[in-house]
Point group: C2
Chain length 496, copies 2
């Protein structure tokens, strides 16, 4: 017969609320199995006769029988005719409690990752702000989004295609969305795209990872901007690439430096229309020189056009992809900033020869993107809603930028000098006081404000001290509160 | 002045329907830019005076001026006071047409991928059937899905959290879904999960890729089942791992083989509850021996529980993860088969020490999963709809399997012997006639039926000839038509 404590354990397992939906015999089977796994019932130990256990537990004998049959089927117990049931003898069996001390230690030890896994872990990943906080860079306003319109389009799509929307999607992306994206980048960004050359992904981050692994091997060099978008740099690091930083000036990445060491890298990654974080636009002669370099060395240009929708002084320059007659450019776009982050749709416009390889690689990474979101977005774009929404938001963001500049000049002029950008969702500020970047960021954090320091974006140690101030996701009133808070925080530290 | 042909090109560009939404000056700017890029207007060439061009094109002079101002701003033209506008002299400039022949050749050349990129390309990727076809393995029925209920829950979520659903999501997954998943795997799969240990992903494919790169380095060994699920094997190949095939018998993977060469691999990947494709269930003593091996060698067990919801003869055995007191097991689950593929939600239950590293890695891969789908699914599970739907579908699939077995025995018994599975969405059939596997598959394809051959799943050449027949996504009537078609196709080839 079970000891009293064992019986109590079985009863507790039976009554566990998480098991309420299980039939009684399954609950009993589960509780006894746990006793065996935990070593409370050792190999060879007899189990109570079903009649006796039924009585102790106040259940029918059939219920116990059903539990024993399943324990037997799973191999946990042996049943010998005439002599009852016994915990199975399993030579390899080691009950959990014997290792529990070692196990407890393990939990706090290094997690035993691969070398590349460790590098990814140590990189800290890419932190997107969950609920928008003051000054989060790159986060759009979502409270203004026409959610009801979106839902209406979603219902339209479902009415028309029904459960077909539930099936596997084309790994390249649904055709209507690819067509809408091609039309959009051709019209607005001067690209040369066709629906055939668009690959729909979940994000520009996925695009970076895909490019890094499909186009380069571990140890291969890639030219990156210095400073650069940290998400891109971390993706390249994770893929084992050798990042070769190239200086950025007021005309964008200094292409002469690339031409001076053309073979050091097989690809270049850049943000030509609005350099992250400096805001510089890459000059036309540099664009053309870069294209020539890529064509001559069969190198790749990875063009991240992450926020070109939001330029406040006229249209942004046409993209590099549209200027490149040699098909060496991969154009990366995303709806994370122009619509909303929770959509999880980004894309690449590919040279024709890369379409098939990249699509196949995507099936290995994570299959495909959800068809419903793609079809709804396609309809949103076809109906002109995307263009209209971007125009509205461009006006709102331009006002918010103006307000931020005013507020910084009014409250923070003792500490920083703003570098007013021509576009985008954030403004760089350079520290002009005695505060170090570290001290400024720490002071902000103590006041509940997270700032992204500029040195984190620099590959070399010569960064100007400062930080990025995102302005898109906060109203001017919200920004005012945060700026004042920050000014107070800086004032307190500067006094010390 | 422009030559006639140039003028015609500009007019054609202006009239292009894709540019209909652009203002007139932008269309003209674009058309002239294209002439410059294409080399039709060489460096130093004068542009028509704005007044003259306005007249030729029948537009106002302001329109031409606006186009010229933008071309100048982009650096395509120089403007000299008193002498007009000229195509900019750009030493690095090489018009596209000079390389057009070389370019045309390039399009048909190798796409210039990395070594690993080439390997991924050559693997052919994982092909999921877009619209369900007869016998597609692993594809669930989606026509029965309660779409209206799903939409209702979606609306509920949106009403409650509004545009908050549009923001970035927690990269680990939304808490309500992680809780619902933990409750589900504990209750139904005998796992030991908590919401803290669940990481929400887009698919089990992404889980494989994540495990492969976070836990192993290129060249590291991983034990895989032989035969094995091709998606897993291709993910490991893509990550540069050395797959070490281990025999599968009627009790699942032969763990003795692993114990005989314990250090050859740092991880094992397996489908213990319903081996893919043989359908074997891993015996308990083997499970325990595997756990011991993993604990002793600090190795990892990657447990893919891809279709355990659909066992037709009682419950499936509890998962390995729930038996493992040493936290060496990563449990992979997916809603692709239990709900619908377009959902794009899979998950892993992780040992505690892997939660942070894996979550960080996920931010580098593709950020996070769409919050709306996660929150809707959480509500679907909390409301008991998931359990109910799985029960309904289990009944339907059991009937469809029965029907398939009958049909195969009636129409295909001259050719194949079915291996009736205890669960899952497909049935293996072994060829018993003179037809080779290749010939059988080709015959099927000619009749419009795609079959997945068993040898494609084998790492070694000793596979029994045969194929998988998916039965879940077709009604018995649809299956009957396809089986008869296949029988005819085989008969035709067998006669030749």
């Amino acid at each position: 017969m079970f000891r009293h404590s064992q019986l109590e354990t079985v009863k507790a397992g039976m009554a566990h609320p998480a098991h309420a939906a299980m039939p009684l015999h399954a609950r009993i089977q589960r509780a006894i199995r746990q006793l065996i796994i935990d070593g409370a019932l050792g190999p060879g130990k007899p189990l109570p006769a079903s009649r006796a256990l039924a009585k102790s537990l106040g259940v029918s004998r059939d219920t116990i029988e059903a539990a024993y049959v399943r324990l037997h089927a799973e191999g946990f117990i042996d049943r010998r005719v005439g002599s009852g049931s016994f915990v199975a003898e399993m030579t390899e069996f080691t009950p959990g409690h014997r290792l529990s001390q070692r196990d407890a230690l393990l939990r706090h030890q290094a997690p035993n990752l691969s070398k590349r896994g460790n590098a990814m872990f140590r990189s800290g990943g890419v932190h997107d702000t969950l609920s928008p906080r003051p000054f989060s860079p790159g986060v759009p306003e979502t409270r203004t989004f026409p959610l009801q319109l979106w839902e209406r389009l979603e219902r339209q799509v479902r009415r028309e295609i029904g459960t077909q929307a539930l099936a596997h999607g084309d790994p390249q992306g649904t055709e209507p969305l690819r067509r809408a994206i091609a039309d959009y980048v051709n019209l607005e960004r001067g690209a040369r795209a066709t629906a055939d050359r668009v690959l729909v992904l979940t994000s520009s981050q996925q695009a970076m990872m895909l490019c890094a692994s499909m186009l380069l091997d571990p140890g291969d060099g890639i030219f990156i901007e210095n400073p650069a978008y940290h998400g891109a740099r971390k993706a390249f690091d994770a893929a084992g690439l050798e990042c070769v930083p190239i200086r950025v000036d007021r005309q964008g990445i200094v292409v002469e430096q690339i031409l001076a060491q053309p073979r050091k890298a097989k690809a270049v990654s850049l943000t030509p229309s609005h350099q992250f974080p400096t805001g510089a636009t890459l000059a036309l002669d540099r664009r053309l020189a870069l294209i020539e370099w890529a064509a001559r060395h069969q190198a790749w240009i990875i063009e991240d056009d992450y926020d070109s929708e939001f330029h406040y002084a006229g249209k942004p320059t046409a993209c590099v992809q549209g200027l490149d007659p040699h098909d060496r450019t991969i154009y990366i776009g995303t709806f994370t900033k122009s619509l909303f982050p929770g959509l999880r749709i980004g894309y690449v416009v590919l040279p024709p020869q890369l379409v098939k390889p990249m699509t196949i690689a995507r099936t290995l990474l994570d299959g495909h993107s959800a068809p419903m979101a793609q079809l709804t977005l396609a309809r949103f774009m076809e109906g002109g809603h995307f263009g209209a929404y971007v125009r509205t938001m461009r006006g709102i963001y331009a006002q918010r930028l103006d307000a931020l500049v005013d507020l910084v000049q009014k409250h923070l002029s003792d500490f920083v000098e703003p570098r007013i950008p021509i576009g985008g969702l954030q403004m760089p500020c350079l520290l002009t006081c005695d505060l170090s970047e570290r001290a400024a960021i720490d002071a902000g954090r103590r006041a509940g404000i997270e700032l992204l320091g500029l040195s984190a974006l620099h590959a070399t140690g010569d960064a100007e001290a400062g930080f990025l101030m995102g302005f898109a996701a906060s109203t001017s009133a919200e920004t005012e509160i945060a700026v004042k808070k920050l000014a107070n925080a800086f004032r307190t530290v500067a006094k010390l």
